[in-house]
């Protein structure tokens, strides 16, 4: 059997291997040296790659702008935003600069930058420390959006993201940093833009994002009891979106549920659902149903949070609904 690592360890390994391979790669962010960042992903880099990791003051716009400039000047920055919520302090840099430089310069500029975004609920930190917002960046041409759901994918996708000549928003769900899974040793890359069929099935397709993949797999097992053989597709790459794999699956099963942890309204699941509806209408035998959070900020109280974050029963219920 393959060795297992935590999600965090897998990311760390990817960073180390890539920094070893290519000395244009450097890391920049808050507390990335002293503490390895809040989730310790960058731990050990200062020792192994001295001078290639920059711990900054609290200045997200500055950090991101430095990343853009260094990237345009030939380097490969990996920017850590401590919590994705703080990327709101650097949106011009991401959206008007990083994303548009190649286009505005007629192809001259390349901005090979990875922006790591710890996201979603973790400890109870309420509305300003729990956001996800994948759909914001999907909506921006020139950005790539990647969401690994397993340690193996975390490693393979981060390596590909680092090698990409264009900016990548790399979403790391805080809740799964400590999850374990198989991770290949050494060179292991997963092309951006490819979804993965995690479980084959004939009756319905669940397209899932991030931690909802694992929950969908759990739901699929429960649904067996109801006699439903469900296919689970990990979207993995939200932009570019692998419409081929998703549509091929839905055409086969005739039913689709799209699950994400973020709020559904104008969320990533809406794009996927709209796309399926547009492309697979003739083959669909039921509506495309979305599963996600309600349209509310993340509350603090644990008693409220548990009614916000979607769980397995929300998925089984949705599948039941589309099969009716």
């Amino acid at each position: 059997m393959m060795r297992t690592l935590t999600f965090t360890e897998a990311l760390r390994e990817a960073l180390h291997e890539e920094m070893d391979r290519d000395d244009t790669i450097f890391v920049i962010g808050e507390d990335v040296i002293t503490h390895g960042g809040p989730y310790k992903v960058t731990e050990g880099i200062a020792e192994r790659f001295p001078g290639r990791i920059f711990e900054t003051p609290i200045a997200e716009a500055g950090i991101m702008g430095v990343g853009v400039g260094a990237a345009m000047a030939g380097m490969n920055p990996v920017v850590e935003i401590m919590y994705m919520d703080f990327v709101t302090c650097a949106m011009d840099e991401v959206v008007n600069q990083a994303a548009k430089m190649r286009y505005m310069t007629g192809g001259q500029a390349s901005v090979p930058m990875v922006i790591r975004l710890p996201c979603g609920v973790g400890r109870l930190l309420a509305a300003q420390h729990s956001q996800i917002m994948e759909s914001w960046f999907m909506h921006v041409p020139g950005l790539q959006v990647v969401v690994p759901s397993t340690p193996g994918d975390a490693k393979g996708l981060l390596k590909s993201a680092i090698r990409s000549p264009d900016p990548v928003l790399f979403f790391e769900y805080k809740r799964i940093y400590t999850s374990r899974g198989e991770v290949p040793d050494g060179e292991h890359t997963i092309p951006l833009g490819q979804a993965k069929i995690c479980r084959e099935g004939e009756d319905a397709t669940i397209v899932a994002i991030g931690p909802m993949v694992q929950k969908s797999l759990e739901a699929a097992i429960l649904l067996e009891d109801d006699g439903y053989d469900v296919e689970v597709v990990d979207a993995r790459s939200l932009s570019p979106l692998d419409t081929d794999t998703i549509c091929e699956s839905v055409r086969r099963t005739g039913h689709a549920v799209v699950c994400g942890e973020d709020s559904s309204f104008a969320g990533a699941v809406s794009e996927i659902a709209a796309m399926i509806g547009e492309n697979c209408f003739r083959e669909l035998n039921g509506p495309v149903v979305r599963v996600g959070s309600p349209h509310v900020p993340m509350p603090f109280s644990s008693e409220l949070v548990k009614h916000v974050v979607p769980e397995v029963p929300n998925i089984t219920e949705a599948v039941g609904r589309v099969m009716m």
Binding site: P57, V296, S302, E303
Partner: protein
């Protein structure tokens, strides 16, 4: 010193309230009753109390992620704050905010804030509101030394200075920004020195000395109230605990912490002053501490006995209830 015995006792009591509230909250965290992050203000009490003791009820205060002290010093009830930390519906924010978002609008405490530097421009805006209404309310914004690096510091203070608004920018320079020593990531030692860029007064004070903070803030508040515009105050201080709970504090020595705790405790410092002035007896001191202890014990009881919010409350307070909308 233009302090009275009465005001001194009030301030002394307030510092103890902050200290004991937090130590209890800390204990409740280790018991699992309080969850989420808890950024301890202990060690910095003289700043919140020294500044807020100059304020009227209708003056505005905006805080940070480390705002238990600011809220209590502005007059928030410890039991409702404790209930908030417990995630209970009786909390200041009905359990929806937690430690980083405690607010009490009935006291014009417009909220702690989870985003570093995010209160500076809003405090400027609250000051603009008073100016527009023609009241003489002032606004106070607390923020850390880390926030001074953010663009919002520059833009927010810039606007306050431009319009000569009644706002006091109070930087609590505790020499650390999360796990990083300030001077690892800053080029100027004193945040007060940055006031020059905004042509406003910048003053650095010993944040462990309540009297000094009280007096410097008093001048700033008076100037602001009279239309003299903003002041940037830097209070040099220290946090006795880690950045938040669970911090291993590998970035500083235990000797350093001990030194501050032993010789630079703002409460102990001020107790000596009070005693020297003959404003506080040993008995009064014991009584104050006992009263606060009781208050905090009652706060915990209140929090424990309060109900959680109901599932229906997940979807309220996103927008105002429909009937209020025009």
């Amino acid at each position: 010193m233009d302090l009275s015995s009465e005001l001194g006792k009030e301030m002394y009591r307030n510092m103890w309230r902050i200290r004991l509230f937090e130590e209890e909250a800390n204990r409740q965290t280790s018991l699992g009753s309080v969850v989420g992050a808890l950024h301890m203000y202990c060690g910095e009490e003289a700043v919140a109390v020294g500044v807020c003791s100059n304020l009227r009820d209708d003056d505005y205060v905006l805080g940070t992620h480390r705002s238990h002290g600011h809220c209590l010093a502005k007059g928030a009830e410890s039991r409702r704050m404790m209930a908030e930390l417990f995630g209970k519906v009786t909390g200041t924010c009905a359990g929806k905010g937690g430690s980083m978002h405690i607010a009490d609008f009935s006291l014009n405490m417009l909220g702690a804030n989870g985003i570093v530097g995010a209160g500076i421009a809003p405090a400027t805006g609250a000051a603009l509101a008073s100016k527009l209404r023609g009241t003489d309310q002032v606004s106070v914004c607390f923020f850390g030394d880390g926030a001074a690096a953010r663009g919002t510091f520059h833009e927010g203070i810039g606007l306050g200075a431009l319009w000569k608004l009644p706002v006091i920018y109070v930087c609590e320079n505790n020499q650390y920004q999360q796990w990083v020593p300030r001077m690892n990531v800053a080029v100027v030692d004193s945040v007060a020195d940055m006031a020059g860029s905004y042509a406003i007064p910048g003053v650095s004070v010993d944040g462990q000395n309540l009297v000094e903070v009280y007096e410097v803030a008093g001048e700033a508040v008076e100037r602001a109230r009279k239309g003299g515009g903003p002041t940037l105050i830097e209070a040099r201080t220290y946090r006795f605990y880690g950045h938040s709970l669970g911090d291993e504090e590998q970035y500083r020595t235990s000797e350093e912490v001990e030194e501050w705790r032993t010789n630079q405790d703002p409460i102990i410092n001020f107790r000596s002053t009070m005693m020297e002035q003959g404003w506080l007896t040993e008995e009064e001191d014991a009584q104050i501490q006992n009263e606060i202890q009781d208050e905090i014990a009652e706060a915990v009881r209140f929090a424990e006995e309060s109900p959680y919010p109901t599932p229906e409350q997940v979807t309220t307070d996103v927008l105002a209830p429909a009937q209020e909308v025009a």
